[in-house]
């Protein structure tokens, strides 16, 4: 039923041109794709009316001290320590912003709601959040808006009408481009590669593979897709699947994509243990901590993700711009300090920019 719906939807969206479209690769979804320009020019921003919510009579804070709280999914892990570090950085730089981070010690939506609720009572000017659940968090965020508090999301979105803006760390087509470009740089324009993903129907991974496929068709047409294998998000299964691919294709296999933060290090481990470092390139989405040994040994050259420090930094700049009246519904860009101007996409989202590539030179600066 769901598949039929998605199919009908995608056919409807793509209209007549869809009929001419080839079969997509295994593990890609059927949604419309939007490959970026090969040269790296920013993608076209689809115009969409502002769909966020608005606070009820917020106090005029232009140029005045701004008190923000940051409620991430959970505290005490490297990733959100990094976003919180970026927020402090922006606050220090701006001088008139105070931001404190506090939240649950487990990624628990119930506790996160209670934290935000308490902050509303305590009285703050703005709430920054990374939602544990987009719908469950909405009532408490709407309550904040109702009390005149600015609400900005980052990392994990809520329903659009429950917050003003959302800082989006990466769009699917941006990730697709970064992965394919880095692979092409390592294995050449006519290299062949295989993919280790979670499952063919996992939404994010399926979206990324569809965008990778579209971008490869457009910009690196001679690269060859060998196979996509499913490995859940299981360490041992990912390792076994990657090893099977290495044995099955032998010298024909030039590169492996890891689509999850589990599959990428497991693929790197499989290549290392097979003694194929330098022959089989590994490119994928993963965290620096998981990939550090392979990057330092030189077996992996590029790990694609976003920079969480920049993500937190941008969120504070967005909050400041909103309070100062410099970012209003309908605006198309916002000034974000050292990150330059960031574009508004999807109505009420701010795009952090192209994904960040971790390599031997910068990986030691990150701990998450």
């Amino acid at each position: 039923m769901r598949k039929t719906l998605i199919f009908a939807l995608s056919v409807g969206l793509m209209g007549g041109t869809a009929l001419a479209q080839e079969q997509r690769w295994d593990g890609a979804d059927d949604l419309p794709v939007n490959p970026l320009d090969c040269a790296g020019a920013p993608g076209e921003v689809a115009a969409k009316p502002y769909d966020g919510g608005q606070p009820n009579n917020p106090p005029d804070l232009a140029g005045k001290e701004l008190v923000l709280v940051d409620v991430p999914k959970l505290i005490g892990i490297g990733y959100f320590n990094a976003t919180s570090k970026g927020m402090q950085l922006a606050a220090d730089e701006l001088g008139n912003v105070k931001v404190t981070t506090d939240g649950p010690t487990k990624a628990n939506i119930d506790e996160q709601i209670t934290f935000i609720d308490n902050f509303i009572t305590r009285g703050v000017h703005g709430v920054l959040f990374a939602a544990n659940d987009p719908v469950a968090i909405a009532p408490v965020l709407k309550k904040a808006l109702d009390k005149g508090i600015h609400v900005i999301g980052y990392d994990a979105n809520a329903q659009p009408d429950a917050r003003e803006w959302f800082v989006n760390q990466a769009e699917f087509n941006g990730i697709g481009k970064a992965l394919i470009d880095n692979m092409a740089a390592e294995i050449g324009e006519d290299g062949s590669f295989a993919i280790v993903t979670s499952t063919f129907t996992t939404p994010n991974q399926a979206r990324w593979i569809a965008e990778m496929w579209a971008y490869q068709q457009k910009c690196h047409p001679n690269m060859k897709w060998l196979e996509t294998v499913e490995a859940q998000e299981d360490n041992i299964l990912s390792f076994n699947q990657a090893t099977t691919l290495i044995n099955k294709y032998g010298p024909e296999l030039n590169g492996l994509f890891g689509m999850t933060s589990v599959a990428t290090p497991a693929s790197a481990e499989a290549v290392t243990q097979a003694g194929k470092c330098g022959e089989v390139a590994v490119v994928g989405l993963a965290t620096p901590n998981g990939m550090r040994p392979y990057v330092q040994s030189g077996c992996v050259k590029s790990v694609v993700l976003w920079n969480p420090v920049d993500l937190g930094y941008a969120a504070v700049h967005v909050a400041r711009a909103v309070a100062d009246g410099k970012l209003k519904p309908g605006d198309t860009q916002v000034d974000a300090g050292k990150l330059g101007t960031l574009p508004v996409v999807n109505g009420s989202e701010i795009l952090l920019g192209p994904p960040f590539v971790y390599n031997m030179d910068n990986i030691d600066e990150f701990d998450f």
């Binding site: 119930d110 709601i113 308490n118």
Partner: protein, 327 residues
Amino acid sequence: MATADPRAAMPGRLHGLMLRHEMVLAAILVAALFVLSLQTDRFLTTDNLLNQGRLMAEIGLIALPMTYIIITAGIDLSVGSIMGLCAIMLGYGWKNLGLPLELSIALSLLIGTIAGAVNGWFITRVRVPPLIMTLATLALYRGLAEGISQARSVRGYPDWFFVLGQGELLGVPTQLWLLLVATVVAAVVLARTSFGRMLYAIGSNETAARFSGLPVDRCKIAIYALSGFTAGLAAWIFVSRVSTTRSDMGTGVELDVIAAVVLGGTSIFGGTGTILGTALGVVLVQLLKNGLALTGVKGDATIVVIGSVLILSILVSNWLRARRGVD
């Protein structure tokens, strides 16, 4: 010997009043209210207190049958998982099975009751210790919830559904009324009925209770079923409050509930405990969490304070009991 009795050092009336665990708790609660209200003017406001009432309704409800269960020297670790299972069944019945929402709510309450009764049946008939049995169903029911939901959440409930979790009645959150009524009923049943006295009898000496001809097994199945039903009720309130269902709802609730009950003076070995104590325990934990958050204490430090209060209150209570010479 009479001169060495510490009781002689204290006037009779004051002595009886001071030594009740509930009094110790109430004193701590008043002290905490006082200190916290000095720290921030946003704490002791009607708005904030009513809002805290809304947030503690689920824990408070589940704590009532938990008090019964712990009085009989049992424990129910599966309440959080039953809450998750009921939340999922509520959404699943409505969205996937196409039941009317009212029927789906009834179904989810029924499933909660059955889940609790299953605990009770195994504990009494198969003689599985309550700790082991409910530890097993803690995993089992959570697994069912995750399996049935397939990690998908159900949203888009009609407006009337949100009255329970987000609405107000006479200016007081709807679920707080429910909690108040349930607490009074639970207190009266425990203190004034033969059922209540039976719970104490089972907890004090189960063998003696059996030989006295009390229906021990039926009573135990009833309280575990009641616990499951209440967890289902809490799930309904929670889904209504946050407007979506997730399979991880209620994770860790069992620990909050048991902490509040034990803080309220119910002995984990059975035989003693009151609903008033449990209510004070629930309120104290909730207001401490809220007050500390409002004064700017971070989340991790707050749990440290809560843990310390729990230990302290039990130490004080034990010390007083030892002085009194009871037990």
